[in-house]
Amino acid sequence: MSSVDIAIRIRGLEKVYRMGTEKVRALAGVDLDIRRNEFVAIMGSSGSGKSTLMNILGCLDRPTAGSYELAGKPTHRMSASQLARVRNQEIGFVFQSFELLPRATALANVMLPLIYSSRYWLSARAMARKSLERVGLAQRMTHRPNQLSGGQRQRVAIARALVTNPSILLADEPTGNLDSKTSDDIMMLFKQLHAEGQTIVIVTHEEDIAGHAHRIVRLRDGRILSDHPTADDPTHQTYLRLAASTAASLAQGATA
C-alpha cells in the first residue's frame, strides 16, 4: 500500500472532553488508514466515539493528541484558517440534518463552498449545476429546501459536498432522518459515487446501511473493536471464493 494511495492516515488519535470537573475520553487511541476509493462505514453504539472521530476526520474538531494526515497533509498541525481551506477543498461533509440554508435555492446552497474558494461566480454556477445533475436533481435547481422532500434535500447536501471535488466524502448518519425507501435511494447514490471513484466514509448505527459499504470499522469506548471487509467488497468476494474453494478442497480431502 503506497503512501500515494492513502487518503486518511490516523495514528494514536485521542479526544478528551472536559465536562465540568470530569474528563471524558471520547477517543482513546485510534489508528486507522483509509485508502483512496474505499467505501468505509464507521459503526458503534452511541457514546462509542464514532461521531467524534467523524468530526475530527471532517476537520470540524481537533484531536487532543495523535496525528491525522489527510491526503498527506498533517491537519493536526494546522491553524484555524488552514483547516478552513482543507474543509473547503479536500472534504465534502454530509450531515444527518442536511444543514441547508432555508432561504437559498438548491443551486445557491450547492454554490456555497465555492463562494469561499477563489472561483468566479459563473464557473461556480456551472460547477454547482453539474453537481446537482450528478445527484439527479437537474429539475429542482431553483427550489428552496422547504419545497423539496427529505431525500431531495439530502441529495442537495450531497451535491454541495461534491461540488469542490473533494478527496473524501464524509457522511454522518446520512439516512438518519429518512424513511427506509429514501435511505436505500441515497445509499444507491453513494454506491454510484463510489463506483465513479469517490472515497467515502459514512457513520451509521444501522447494520443494513453499513452493509452497503465495503469495509466496516466498529468502535467501542473510543477504540477500534473490529475492522473488516463486507460481503460487497470485491476483495472480500475473492476472499470468500478462495475460502469456499479451500473449504471445498478441504472437505474433498476429508472425504477422500
Binding site: A84, F93, L112, Y116, S118, W121, R160
Partner: protein
Amino acid sequence: MMLIPRIIFQTVVLALQQIFANIVRSILTTLGIVIGVASVITVVAATDGLQKFVLKEFATIGASKVWVFPRMPPGQRDRYSWRQLRITVPEAEGMLDRCPSLIRLTPIVEMSTSVSHGDVTKSVATVQGVNSSWHLIEDRDILQGRPFNSIDDEQRLQVCLVNDKAIEELELDANCVGQRIDVGGRSFTIVGVVETKTVSPMFGGTEAVSEVYVPFRTALTLRPEPRMYIIAQTRSPELFEDAREEIRFYLRRSRDLKPDEPDTFGVQAIEAVISQFKRLAAGLGVFLAGIVAISLVVGGIGIMNIMLVSVSERTREIGLRKAVGAQPAVILLQFLVEAVTLCLVGGAIGLALGYMFIGVLKFIPKSPLADAGVPFWAVLLSVGFSAGTGLIFGMFPAIKAARLNPIDALRHE
C-alpha cells in the same frame, strides 16, 4: 487577491438579503441611526441657516462702521458723572484729522422733542442731528428732494429730512418737500425724504418709526450740550483694529487719561460682533451636533444588540459556513458588513429625512432658515459616523461569530 473584493460584494448582497428578510426588525433596529442622522442633519442645517440669516442682518447694519460712545469704566461711578463722559463737539470735530484709518464720520445728536405740523403734534419724537457724511455712512436713499450738504451744516440752516413714517404720522403731503414743520418750537423746511431701513426685531431693531433729521450744527443750537455719539466709517472693514487704536489714542489724549486709567468711552465695530457671533454659532453648532450624536451612539448599541441576536440565531448557519470552508476572517467580514450595511441604510434614510425636515422648515413663510443648507461636511460626518457606529458596534458580535468552533456552532440549537 481577487477573493476579498468578491467576498465583500457577496457579503453586501447577503447582508441586504438578511435586512430585507427581516424588514420590520431591520427598520426598528436602524430607527436609532435614522433619528440620529436626521437630527444631526437638521440641527447642522438649522444652525447654518440661522447663521446666514444673522450675517445678512449684520450686513444691513454695515460692516465697516465704527461706533464711538461714552462708557462708564466699571467700578468708577463715584469718580465720573455721565455728563463728564459725554463726547464733546471739539472731540468729534477733531477725530477725522487724527485718525487716518477713518474715511468719514458723523456725530449724531439724539434728542427727544415735540414735532408738529399744523394741528398735528407728536409730543415725543426722535430728532437726530447729523452731518452730510451720514448719507454715505448709512447708505440710505433719498426718495424725494435732496440730501444734506455742508452748507446746511455750516450755516446752521433750519432744514430737515423726514422718512415716510413721519410723513404719515404728521399728515404731511405725499410730496412734502418744501413744507414746514415745527421741531422743538422752531420752524424747519423739509428738503428731502429718506428711505426707512429696518433691522429685524431679533437684533434689537424695531418697527419703522417716525424719523426727523436736522443738520448737526443746527441741532447744537437746539441742544448746546447734547448727548452725542459718533458713527465713523473705516476705509475698509479689516481696518477696524487700526481705527480703534487711533480713536483710543486720540480720545485718551483729549481726555487727559493717565496710562493706568481705563477708557471712558467705547469703540465698537460690527465686524467684531460678527466674528464673535461666528465663533458662537460654530461652537453652538458643534455642541448641538454633539448632543445629537449621542443618539447615534444609542442607535449603535441597538445595532450591536440586534447583531448579537443575529449571531446566536444564525449560529448553525455560521457553523455550516465554516464547515464548508469559510475562513474565520470571512465570517468576521460578513457580520461586520451586515452591521455597516444596516447602519448605512439607516444613515441614508436619516439623511433623506433630515433634508425633508429642512425643506419643510425653509418653506415656512418668513422663516429665518430660508437660506439653510446642509454643508457637505455634515453629510460626510453623519454617514461616516453611522458607518463607524456599525463597525465599532458590529465588531463584538462579528468576533464572537468568527471565533465559534464549527462543530459547536453546528450543534447549537
